[in-house]
């Protein structure tokens, strides 16, 4: 395969503000990535738009609306939409543009303005099957509360374990200048926070964020034209599960809603492509998509960072802390910023920053390889990308 390198990364500060229009946020992300790559839009051969449910911004096929904002006019443009996984799917689509030889330099860009609609969870109820499940108040919170309940039952997770994840990620988020939530919490703060959907509490949850992000990918032979130490896309994986959450339960289930074997499939496909044999040793930083604290724990074991019966003990021992031996979400993760359309792209961007040594205060020493993941649909579409410093 033709080598694909990350030549630029741009993020806006994520926030709860709604003072900028959606195209303005896309424009800001585009400007930031071009500045970071020290280049102009003329060097971009094609654009991939990362846009999740467009009902949230209130313009159907909103990718057409932001063509001018991201400088795509006159260029090839594709929009990717796999729900919450959109950002990591979009990076993969951009990588295929380059790997196929069709284009040399591709920008992947997006933004979200979750505050645009006061009805985000009502819109997210419309993702469900209209015939049997939409009549119930399903949304992205309740679907993952079901996961928490089954994970508790299967592995003995407690509300305290969830709180410990939240405490860790929020502590990391304070080191990340782009994070939306930059506040430390104690376990007591989390346990005492408002119950939303048992057992998920306010501080177990991601915020509703506005902001944009973009990346520039280029062919390996072009890295010399860009200013930073390159990070390479070394592994890609993507896998989907059944839509039906109720099929992930009961004695005849093939998968359990507590776990995500499709995440395992995606991650191991990415390891294989990257030629990684011992991922626990060869990967030094893990940016795992987890919009609620419980999701981080299953993601940790499903990407094979530890055995399933070790997860809670390792959490208690601080193994996943930024200075632990298996650091997870040094950026603060999704719990500290969730601009839905680009959240999973930010995981790849943060993995790349770690590999490039550009992560600033949340930099982990000596990262040569990092893993990023994304989750979309009803805990159903999973993407994984391995980023490395060598070819």
């Amino acid at each position: 395969m033709r080598e694909v390198a990350i030549a630029g990364i741009g993020q806006t500060k994520y926030s709860g503000l709604t003072d900028q229009s959606y195209p303005e946020l896309v424009r800001a992300a585009t400007k930031t990535v071009l500045e970071d790559a020290e280049t102009t839009i003329d060097s971009v051969d094609a654009v991939v738009v990362s846009m999740a449910p467009d009902a949230i911004i209130g313009v159907s096929h909103g990718e057409r609306w932001i063509v001018d904002a991201c400088g795509a006019a006159g260029k090839p443009m594709m929009r990717v939409h796999t729900g919450g996984a959109t950002g990591i799917s979009a990076v993969q689509v951009a990588a295929y543009h380059v790997a196929s030889g069709m284009y040399d330099t591709v920008m992947v860009v997006g933004a979200d303005r979750v505050g645009e609609s006061g009805d985000a969870q009502t819109i997210l109820n419309r993702i469900w099957d209209p015939f049997y499940e939409r009549a119930m108040p399903l949304n992205t919170i309740t679907m993952l509360a079901f996961q928490a309940v089954r994970f508790m039952e299967k592995y003995g997770m407690t509300e305290e374990h969830m709180a410990a994840v939240s405490v860790k990620d929020h502590k990391n988020g304070c080191k990340n200048p782009y994070a939306h939530v930059q506040k430390e919490f104690t376990v007591e703060d989390v346990l005492g926070s408002r119950m939303i959907s048992w057992p998920i509490k306010l501080y177990d949850s991601c915020p509703s964020s506005s902001g944009g992000a973009a990346m520039i990918l280029t062919a390996g032979e072009n890295v010399g034209r860009f200013p930073h130490k390159p990070a390479y896309i070394r592994g890609l994986g993507h896998a989907s599960e059944t839509y039906w959450m109720g099929d992930r339960m009961g004695p005849k289930k093939e998968v359990d809603h507590a776990d995500s074997p499709a995440l395992t499939q995606a991650a191991y496909a990415a390891y294989k492509m990257a030629g990684i044999q011992d991922h626990r040793r060869e990967i030094q930083a893990w940016e795992l998509y987890a919009p609620f604290s419980n999701i981080e724990l299953h993601a940790i074991q499903d990407v094979g960072l530890c055995e399933p019966d070790e997860t809670l003990k390792l959490l208690e021992d601080g193994a996943f802390d930024i200075d632990g031996d298996r650091p997870v979400n040094p950026s603060g993760g999704v719990l500290c910023a969730n601009p839905i359309s680009v959240t999973a792209m930010v995981r790849v961007a943060e993995a790349a920053l770690q590999v490039q040594g550009r992560a600033g205060e949340h930099q982990i020493d000596g990262v040569k390889t990092a893993l990023a993941t994304g989750i979309g649909g009803d805990h159903q579409h999973f993407g994984a990308v391995v980023v490395g410093d060598g070819r």
Binding site: M1, R2, V49, A52, P53, D54, A55, G58, V59, S60, H61, E63, R64, V67, D68, A72, A73, G74, K75, P76, M77, M78, R79, V80, H81, T82, G83, S89, Q92, V93, Y96, H97, A99, S100, G101, M102, I123, L124, R126, I127, W128, P130, F131, L236, G237, H238, A239, S240, E241, T242, Y243, W244, A262, A266, A269, G376, G377, D378, Q380, H381
Partner: protein
Amino acid sequence: MSGAVGIVGVHQEPYGENYSESTLEEMVFRATRRLLEEAGVEREELSNIVTASSDVTDGRAISNMVMAGSTASYFKDSINLSSASEHSFLLAAMQIMSGLRDLTLAISWSKVSESPVDVVQRVASEPYFTRPIGINAMTSYALQASAYEQAYGPDRNLISRVVVKNRRNALDNPLAHLREAPTLEQVNESAPLSWPLTEYDLPPYSDGVCVLLLASEERARVFDGPVAWVRGMGWATGGYWMGERDLTKLPSLEAAAKKAYAMAGIEDPLEQFDAAELHEASSYNEIMQYEALGFAEYGAGEELISEGVTLPEGKLPVNRSGGALSSNPAFASGLVQVAEAALQVTGRAGERQVEGARRALATAQQGFATQGASVVCLEGE
């Protein structure tokens, strides 16, 4: 170009007014299942799936979610695009070209009968300036036709003959939605819907689903049937604001064609292609595509009609399937043109086969007044 990519399977369900007997999910499952049966492929053999869907058309806020089961995506790599149906094909081809995937489904669908099309189109316009004006596909393509009318003053009879040609072609296509052909007189006399476009100048809205199976060169060799090889592809978008675009031309289609022709080594499309399936958003728009694709000079597209060049017996039959004026599964229409071009170069187009077609061209358009466009060049064996 890296590895060659071939189309080894095409399945379309008959396009129709209303698939009321099944759910959207069921309709797509059946088409996908039938393609796999026809191609003799087990689901396990697929390397991956690319879907393309429109949330608001489907009434599902993440439309590849419930659809995962229908598209054979259970424990498969399955990526969904929402910019255009034919983008599923383009991504699948790039994945195979990269050498990372080798047997890929491209799937798109539309069940427009379940939604109010005008409202669905209206929420695709931005809310600040254009939505209050009521822009939709019809008015945007009427603005385009009107601009062309003002610039070149084409012969209305020749515009109408585009409609007659495509609708007559559809009589040979058992999958077509509209299968009765109006006379030239009927077309000329029909009432304007949005000047200068009349009812006959615009496509119907159809329910439908289209599935293609793409394979690497190595995998394609295993199939018994003829293969449609992808020789060139290009796609491009224009700016959002119609007021900034030259509506008398189709710049995004021109840009897409330039890239696709360069890849495929096409210098004289009228000579080198044997058939073309153009996603005509209106009768005027087909003539405008002739010009953007280099079949004719600007303003001279109508000559291809007056000289019969694009008739079934002409030098370059266009829309032998009947085109979008006969079947228009809204969002999925772009992929349909690619499917029909593949059938032509593999000699599998039945009654609508262009005799001896070896090279075919497919186009697609999306957004208001051809904001974006794609071109695919295929070649048989």
